[in-house]
Symmetry: C3
Subunit: 352 residues, 3 copies
């Protein structure tokens, strides 16, 4: 179903130029947008993609509008100060108005709810969900198909579990959360004491997991429960897919971790950090606020100063990098050789 | 149940030498095969393992047969041009004929099928499967136990979901696919716009996932839906376990990714590529056809030329590699020192 | 519910000093323990955290007790030879005595058990579990909510599947195991033969997975079935979350792998090894007993000698490490330049 552009601008703001009765068929990228579609450009200067776009409607800055609008086939424009943020809100608006009127039952007849669980009146529970004893779920929450909510869990207002999510006993989720399929919250941290040749003696993990408000967690990501205290994920944290968060970890507000990141036990990560995909953070260290780690980097020590950090072996053609790797294997000897060259032995100086 | 070797050769071809009424008890590796078992050798020359094998039956090349057969205890041989490919087909034949006559019900009574779903007549649905509204499933498909198929999903002919698979709304799977347990197709891509100190504003992911024919996806692998357009996995692609495919990624036909690989958003990978385990591919870059990436490598730029690429820090004994890593930390200074040594300062030349 | 310290010492041993009727409210870390809590110190010398701890009760070595006890506010002490091991056992005791009297039904009415399955009398089966044909489950085992147990699986005494675990057909688990949510045991190994431009021909994986006794497996970890023989996980092995174990891998007794480790096919890892988080082990190689691999390292060759190994690119500030990486890209040339400096060309010597 298309939507009137004027309705969008009424809801989200922005300055409309051109056809007010433009009907938006789709939101699309600059490359793929056609004459019925809306797209956006967040670059400071007009990009090639913008110049070539056949989008019927464009969200852009007043500067880009002034620079290029007359040369574009678009029939409507929305001028805003931050096109990317505007576009984010537009996707939310779009999803909401497109939303199918869910005539599914509020609590699916195949779900099993323990009689001691307390669910707010309008909680929706999908097929085959298991809700254990003493669970508390607040208004507007959604527990997707095949989720497992163990004893004593608390789930805040409007938080959604998409499907096949497990929340272990005694963990807490704040309001407005979104947990994707396969997420596991509260499995045991990896804790064992060595018992000589007998192997490993398990340290039972007696803490829980506390997740703040407006936290999003990607598919198949795992957050372990704490050993004694809780593992803590603060408000506004965004975790991508297949991330591992070890026991006793603390992640500060509004920090975002891309997919496949590993955070070892008891690491303390500050607020407003970003960690690129597949980076790994060792245990028991401290990362300050506003630290940005490049993808695939390895953090082995605390980072106490805000800034951008990274480190990974550069890619090369096979023959090249194997030769380089061979040098790395003896790199400290190369440095010694350079040192010797810099300070020629006394005898040789005398001989001269 | 053992199988007559002649039946195998009738079904799969190859030139039988020796005992036609040989009964194959097991398929086994050269090392473990006994006198009732069939094994194979795909090496160009006879290997030590072949020379020492006690297999009763061997699949090998005519060259290896000529070189070594009289010295082997095997009573039967199958001569083929590509023993490895022949063996692959034999495993398929073996599994098929061993296949238990599934006297399970076609649609398990514990499954929940939405009344608006359309299933072909001979689709098999396992226990506790949830099939949402407007889902379409073609002939011969199998939805394993505990799978979750959301609204509007299409599943092609003969595609099998082993168990505990989630397919989010509006995604499509081609025919002859195989998805292993825990796979998540179509969770939200990781997209947020910064909203100053307020944190992150979600970009709803409005695209889907289109998966081609004969695609295999390993356990707990995640493929995110596109932001506006679809994420695309082409025909014949093979994905191992615990792989992350970000939003808007395109993977070309017959490309294979080993376990734990991460592909960031909007990467475009060509056809007939291979990516080794735990390699990571950054977002928004382009990889040509026939590119082969070594395991654990990091691809940060486009690769426009077919070939073999790699790069990772070499392993060493703890004391050694720590010394080497210390040099890496100041490597560009070492280069400067070498440069200075190469061009001695003018003054010093004059002093000479 | 608090517990009398004397009960703890009666059950687990140790020499009690101070208040025998001390009631332990919580087990807590040195930092967070209050006057009603029990904590421990496993360091050889008194640490700062111990000196500052307000714990009411402390488990420590006789040496540390002698050195510092009078200066601490604790009212009770337990003297033991290995405080960390003692603490591990205490967490187990604590969890056991806190254990809710499970008045849940032994076999949940929503579970589906195939009539040909054989369950010991006191096996507990959670909600929505599917138990396939010919499955055998021994005494005291627990199959958590939403688990999928395929045909012919065997599960040993007291082994617990927490929830949403899949065990593929014909795999075996020993006794006293613990499998966390999302674990997949026995999915197909990644095996294909190249069929020219046609793409990949599947090699059916006909082996199984054999898991020993007292094995713990973390959330969303995957262990693939063998191609012909079995993948083997020996007694006492501990696997953390999101680990990938390829087909035909062997892991020796009491080896522990931290989260996100990848082990490629046919690798053979010895006993009493430890592998740090996100390390990767290539296929078809051999690792001796008592080998310890640092997190994020890449093992590309066999390691035949016990010891500590590692290797990863050091982290740096963005500008620094990019300069270093640029040198790495041409490192073998730098070595050549050093070589030339070391042996000046003959002609130049003559010219002198």
């Amino acid at each position: 179903v298309p939507h009137l552009l004027s309705h969008i601008v009424d809801a989200l703001g922005g300055e409309l130029r051109g056809s007010r009765d433009f009907e938006v068929a789709r939101l699309a990228s600059l490359e793929h947008a056609g004459q019925g579609d809306l797209s956006f450009c967040s670059a400071k200067q007009p990009t090639l993609a913008l110049r070539q776009s056949r989008a019927g409607c464009l969200v852009l800055s007043a500067e880009n509008y002034a620079a290029i609008a007359p040369n574009l086939p678009a029939r409507a424009f929305v001028l805003v100060s931050d096109p990317y943020l505007y576009f984010a809100r537009l996707t939310q608006w779009w999803k909401r108005v497109q939303g199918v009127a869910a005539n599914e039952p509020l609590i699916h007849p195949t779900a099993f709810i323990h009689p001691s669980a307390h669910l707010a009146a309008d909680v929706r529970i999908g097929p085959f969900v298991y809700v254990g004893p003493h669970v508390e779920v607040e208004a507007g929450a959604f527990l997707g198909p095949h989720s497992v909510i163990e004893e004593g869990v608390k789930i805040g207002e409007g938080t959604r579990l998409m499907s096949r999510v497990t929340i272990y006993a005694s963990c807490q989720l704040g309001h407005s959360g979104l947990l994707h399929s396969g997420v596991v919250v509260g499995a045991d941290g990896f804790g064992f004491a060595k018992n000589g040749d007998e192997g490993w003696e398990k340290i039972e993990q007696l803490g829980g997991v506390r997740i703040g408000h407006a936290v999003e967690i990607g598919a198949n990501t795992c957050i372990d429960r704490g050993t004694l205290d809780d593992t803590v994920i603060s408000d506004g944290v965004k975790l991508d897919n297949l991330i591992q968060i070890g026991h006793n970890v603390y992640i500060g507000p509004h920090t975002a971790l891309a997919a496949c990141v590993g955070v070892a036990g008891s690491a303390h990560i500050g607020a407003y950090c970003t960690v690129g995909g597949a980076a790994n953070i060792f245990g028991h260290l401290r990362i300050a606020d506003h630290v940005h780690i490049a993808g695939t980097s390895v953090v082995t020590r605390s980072i106490l100063k805000a800034g951008h950090y990274g480190g990974f072996f550069p890619l090369g053609e096979k023959a090249e990098w194997e030769k380089n790797a061979a040098v790395v294997r003896q790199l400290y000897r190369l440095r010694e050789r350079v040192k010797r060259l810099e300070s020629p032995p006394l005898t040789s100086a005398i001989q001269k």
